[in-house]
């Protein structure tokens, strides 16, 4: 029997349209728009000004705290301005706009495609390199990776988990990385293990990617302590707590971090970025983005520079289809709908999904018929129908005791509700309020 997480979960149609398409190098854009905040935590502080010449890989915005991340130029050229640029919702956020001139990289970066396995650095040195390279969780959560690698006082990491489940429908960028950059991902995993000081790593891959499982298994034999764990396909397997539960059987206690059960979770994309940062001296300034959609002419996996506009990726994939109704940054379950195509690819952009008009809207919602499907699919064992009602009525104290803060916002409840109720919308509203109350109580 294949392993999976114990509680709840759903099986949305996979629609992995681009799974068979190798990663393609995206042509260089003319202008890049690089936001200074592409991670959870404090925004970084720009180091360049208008008119400065920059190279690809040059630090242009410096981490402003421990939970923050460096940002590097993804291209060579001239800084056009350091000003506000619209984020994916259209809100103005600080960013750096660079006009592209040629493709000159920092000299320290090793641009050869050769695999470098050997590494003589110590754990803390690797952590430092990861921090310098501005690596964040590339599955979409964008939590700075170096922060995770240093356990809080009194806690000890036992093992590393690499998330290769890619449970979001449509997305295939991690799948392609595992197939095409197998050894690089494994070296990255080894480096992360050394950085954490652990001897063991599990790579969880869902069984809808049998090619990735067999290839990773075969290559992993050459690496000490790495085990590939095939998982039974189920959403949200890529959630940290679900992945830990699936691969190890452990349950992260409510309100606690994965480290409390000795685990640190990272993603395939991040492991690859760690390889490039440590072995090739290459900061995180490009990533693989799945560009997909049922009406899209050429669904594909593109290696794009950070700051490239989504519009250019869509153009590369055959242009925006006539029937487009919605554009999502990320997957259909947890991704964000963007207001326009003039938004940049950031470190957390795992995919761009084009939804046709007929699938863009939400159906009318009806009354709750108490079918209890939301309860049975909730991977956290919550009662979404109750949380929604409590949030609607603003009964925040009860919401807290019903553990609304445990919600991981996977959307399984809203997905499955036959009455099409906006369960997660209300739960988010409840979480925001309860979260504010909890913070106020602490101060």
């Amino acid at each position: 029997m294949l392993k999976t997480f114990k509680k709840g979960g759903i099986h949305p149609p996979e629609n992995k349209l681009s799974a068979g398409n190798p990663i393609q190098e995206m042509e260089l854009p003319k202008v890049v728009y690089i936001p200074v905040s592409q991670h959870i935590g404090a925004p970084s502080t720009p180091l360049v000004k208008k008119g400065d010449k920059v190279k690809a890989g040059q630090l242009i915005s410096k981490s402003s705290g421990f939970v923050s991340a460096n940002i590097h130029s993804s291209v060579s050229g001239t800084v056009a301005k350091v000003d506000t640029i619209p984020d994916s919702f259209g809100y103005p956020k600080q960013g750096i706009v660079i006009n592209v001139e040629g493709d000159e990289w920092e000299e320290t970066i090793d641009r050869s495609p050769d695999l470098v396995r050997e590494c003589s650095l110590t754990g803390p040195e690797i952590v430092q390199k990861i921090q310098d390279a501005g690596i964040v969780g590339m599955g979409g959560a964008t939590f700075p990776t170096h922060v995770k690698l240093v356990p809080p006082r009194g806690m000890k990491a036992e093992m590393l988990l690499i998330n290769g489940s890619e449970c979001e429908p449509y997305l295939t960028s991690d799948h392609r990385l595992m197939l095409e950059k197998t050894e690089e991902v494994l070296v990255g995993t080894t480096l992360l293990m050394r950085a954490m000081g652990v001897e063991k790593a599990l790579i969880g891959i869902e069984n809808n990617k049998p090619d990735a499982i067999s290839l990773m298994k075969e290559k992993a034999r050459g690496y000490k302590g790495i085990e590939v764990v095939p998982l039974k396909g189920k959403y949200p397997q890529g959630g940290e707590k679900q992945l830990i539960n699936a691969a190890t059987g452990r349950e992260v206690p409510s309100g606690a971090l994965p480290i409390s059960v000795g685990c640190v979770v990272s993603n395939v994309g991040s492991a690859f970025a760690v390889y490039e940062a440590v072995q090739k001296n290459k900061p995180l300034f490009e990533r693989v983005v799945t560009v997909t959609g049922k009406s899209l002419e050429k669904p594909c996996n593109l290696k794009a520079r950070i700051g490239t506009q989504v519009a250019e990726l869509v153009a590369f994939a055959g242009g925006l289809p006539e029937d487009t109704g919605k554009v999502i940054s990320g997957g259909p379950m947890m991704g964000k709908a963007v207001a326009s195509l003039e938004v940049p690819v950031t470190k957390g952009t795992s995919g761009v999904l084009i939804m046709p008009e007929k699938e863009a809207g939400r159906g009318e919602h009806l009354v709750c018929i108490r079918c209890s499907r939301c309860v049975s699919v909730c991977p956290m064992g919550l009662e979404p129908y109750l949380l929604m009602t409590l949030a609607e009525k603003k009964i925040f104290d009860r919401l807290e005791t019903e553990r609304v803060m445990d919600c991981i916002e996977c959307g399984s409840c809203s997905y499955t509700c036959p009455s099409n109720r906006p369960l997660l919308d209300y739960i988010r509203f409840g979480k925001a309020n309860v979260g504010a109350i909890i913070r106020a109580r602490k101060n």
């Binding site: 509680k7 759903i10 949305p12 149609p13 919702f89 429908p169 707590k241 539960n245 349950e251 992260v252 206690p253 409510s254 309100g255 606690a256 925006l320 487009t324 109704g325 919605k326 554009v327 999502i328 259909p332 379950m333 947890m334 991704g335 964000k336 709908a337 963007v338 207001a339 999904l353 939804m355 699938e359 863009a360 809207g361 939400r362 009806l366 009354v367 709750c368 018929i369 108490r370 079918c371 209890s372 309860v375 909730c378 991977p379 956290m380 064992g381 919550l382 009662e383 129908y385 109750l386 553990r403 445990d406 959307g411 809203s414 997905y415 499955t416 036959p418 009455s419 099409n420 997660l424």
Partner: protein, 327 residues
């Protein structure tokens, strides 16, 4: 801007299931038992069913449109199910005007007075049935004779009625056996009773279909039937002359219809599997208590309505097992 994009929070995809589809699956599951009742009771069964369905849907439409002044929701199929289940719970020879009164009580009192689908506390069809049973005890307990039966009479008692009467008159079970239907008749449903409750086999087929299509889970039916079996079995073991064997209890009266279709009503039953087991055991125990010690030969309708009232309490007490343990 000519090409506005839709912006909404995630998730951006939705399962294809709708309330309507769930309701129509319930209706499909009821069809085998309905066909069987036409076989046993003739076209009268269809007459009663049609009147109940038309009256239920009609009352819901009219009440929503003219009294509640909301957009009628009859297309969701729930009023249709209420009508069908009401018909299943009455004799096949019930006069038309009594059926209409039952539908009014079911939809009006049982469902719409609480706000309509999703907000009613009690199973609407059972509210209708109990209302009729109390108001028209004679008509509600004069069951037509099955067509295959060689008994020369207009009305027949139900197997449970025969049993109750015999035992009340002090006859031991062994003496009564000759008057009661055979095991095969009980299973396929060749006996007197309410329109849709007689065939255990057809109801189980419908139940399996609902299980397969994920309309219901096993918890409630198994808990109801299991607890009935255990309780009836315990008394039977103590004194087989005073108490009938447990299998007889499962195949007669409204046990199957109640356990599979009435107690599993989503709106009025608990949300968690554990809660449904508590609820189901409650129904089983109350049903058997009425059958063994009460004045009525059958009591599953009362049992379900009583446990419906406990559903909010069960939902508040029995919580799903949270991920990450206790806090």
């Amino acid at each position: 801007m000519s090409n506005l994009l839709t912006v909404s929070p995630s998730p951006h995809v939705h399962a294809s299931d709708t309330v309507q589809k769930i309701m129509y699956r319930v209706i499909i599951a009821l069809i085998p038992a309905l066909i069987w009742s036409v076989v046993v009771f003739g076209w009268d069964a269809l007459r009663v069913t049609l009147i109940a369905v038309i009256a239920s849907v009609g009352f819901e439409y009219l009440a929503q449109k003219y009294i509640m002044k909301v957009r009628p929701s009859v297309t969701d199929g729930s009023a249709l199910i209420t009508g069908l289940l009401l018909a299943f719970n009455v004799p096949a020879n019930l006069p038309w005007w009594i059926i209409i009164l039952g539908a009014l009580a079911a939809v009006g009192i049982g469902k719409l007075s609480f706000g309509g689908l999703g907000t009613n506390i009690f199973n609407p069809a059972l509210v209708g049935r109990v209302f009729l049973l109390i108001s028209f005890p004679v008509q509600m307990t004069s069951y037509p004779v099955p067509r295959m039966s060689d008994v020369d009479a207009v009305t027949a008692a139900t197997p449970l009625g025969l049993l109750k009467e015999g035992l009340m008159n002090g006859q031991p079970v062994s003496e009564l056996l000759g008057q009661l239907p055979t095991a095969t008749d009980l299973l396929i449903g060749n006996m007197g009773g309410s329109l849709g409750e007689i065939s255990a086999l057809m109801l189980i087929i419908g139940g399996l279909y609902m299980l397969l299509r994920k309309v219901i889970t096993w918890h409630t039916p198994v808990a109801v039937l299991g607890s009935m079996f255990v309780m009836a079995g315990a008394f039977w073991l103590v004194n087989p002359e005073m108490y009938m064997e447990p299998a007889y209890h499962l195949l007669t009266g409204g046990a199957m219809l109640g356990a599979i279709f009435m107690a599993t009503d989503m709106v009025t039953s608990p949300m968690t599997g554990k809660g449904q087991i508590i609820y189901g055991v409650g129904i089983g125990v109350i049903t058997m208590s009425i059958r063994l010690f009460g004045a009525y030969p059958e009591g599953i309708s009362f049992a379900i309505l009583i446990m419906n009232a406990f559903t909010p309490l069960i939902n508040n007490t029995v919580k799903p097992k949270r991920f990450g343990g206790k806090k």
